[in-house]
């Protein structure tokens, strides 16, 4: 330890009492009287000295190389994330079609299918009908049959009746719901009266038909094995002038 060590231990300042340690190394192994020659990088002018040290240079190069590698990896990960967020949209759609989650449309459903589909005669399904109106709409809206027995693959017709009991022409617009939800993806409406403005004159009563079928694939879905009852529920709302309802991607079709 030397004399300076003993001085420190006695609590006196190193510089003052290490006067007689001049020329020798202090307790840290450092020549106190030659500040330029210090073991750590310290102030900027000392770094120039460090750079001339070949070991130091090699080390810095190594660090720079490693930094570049890490930066490349991070950059690649960021680009990968952005790419994945774009790819997620079609992938999710595929996943939904495969699993049918969320009642989304099943792939391969089209109107040409109606021509070629065969009724599955051993699977009889009872379809019940429900009718609702919004509180502000004074229409008398009800189904004309309580239930109907259909089989998958067979087109069926059902009727609702609506009467405008006010003295003014009223425009209504309706939407529907199918319970159980999973069966909703197999419930295909060929034509109905929903999602389009329907105008009823004062005291007018009309028949509103629904032409639908249940997809034959319903009979092959194991999740639907216990489903024997499907409820179709229509709700009418009043369509106000200039009020746009968020229709599900539906383009207004002119049937006439």
């Amino acid at each position: 330890m030397g004399l300076c060590g003993r001085c420190l231990a006695a609590g006196w300042g190193t510089r003052v009492l290490c006067v007689w340690a001049r020329g020798s190394l202090g307790p840290w192994g450092v020549d106190l009287w030659a500040p330029s020659r210090q073991a750590w990088p310290g102030p900027p002018q000392a770094r120039g000295v460090a750079r001339s040290n070949p070991f130091r240079r090699g080390q810095e190069q190594e660090w720079r190389r490693r930094n570049k590698t890490v930066l490349t990896y991070v950059g690649a990960a960021a680009v990968g994330m952005v790419g994945m967020s774009y790819a997620a949209v079609p992938l999710y759609r595929l996943y939904c079609q495969a699993t049918g989650l969320g009642g989304s449309a099943v792939a391969g459903h089209g109107s040409d299918q109606i021509e070629t589909m065969e009724p599955v005669k051993d699977r009889i399904i009872k379809v019940t009908f429900n009718a609702d109106v919004h509180a502000s709409l004074h229409w008398n809206f009800r189904p004309q049959q309580t239930e109907i027995y259909v089989v998958p693959g067979e087109t069926a017709l059902a009727f609702y009746k609506a009467k405008n009991s006010t003295d003014k022409p009223v425009i209504g617009i309706s939407t529907y719901n199918v319970v159980p939800f999973e069966a909703g993806q197999y419930f295909n409406k060929i034509q109905c009266f929903c999602f389009e403005e329907q105008r009823l004159n004062p005291q007018e009563e009309v028949d509103m038909p629904v032409f639908f079928f249940i997809d034959p694939e319903f009979a092959e879905d194991p999740r639907m094995a216990s489903v024997d009852l499907i409820t179709l529920s229509y709700t009418f709302f009043e369509a106000k002038e200039g009020h746009k309802l968020p229709l599900p991607g539906y383009q207004k079709q002119i049937v006439k």
Partner: protein, 93 residues
Amino acid sequence: MSTAMNFGSKSFTPRPPDKGAFPLDHFGECKGFKEKFMKCLRANRFENALCRQESKEYLECRMERQLMAKEPLEKLGFKDLIDEKSEEKHSKL
């Protein structure tokens, strides 16, 4: 109506009809055919399979009166009824 707020829970998204909406039959032009169909349903305990002839007639009435886009009946799922009719015709001849 259900809101699809919970991911993974069952929810229902309504789909627009394939051929759009039926125009309203304001003048009751096809009411007779409808009454026939409803009577048939009530008589057959609401079995759709037994009343398809009446439903076909109702749709034909609509098509004639411009209340429905004209379409070949095979496209509406009545292929079996048409085949029966043509078979009858052939057998008569």
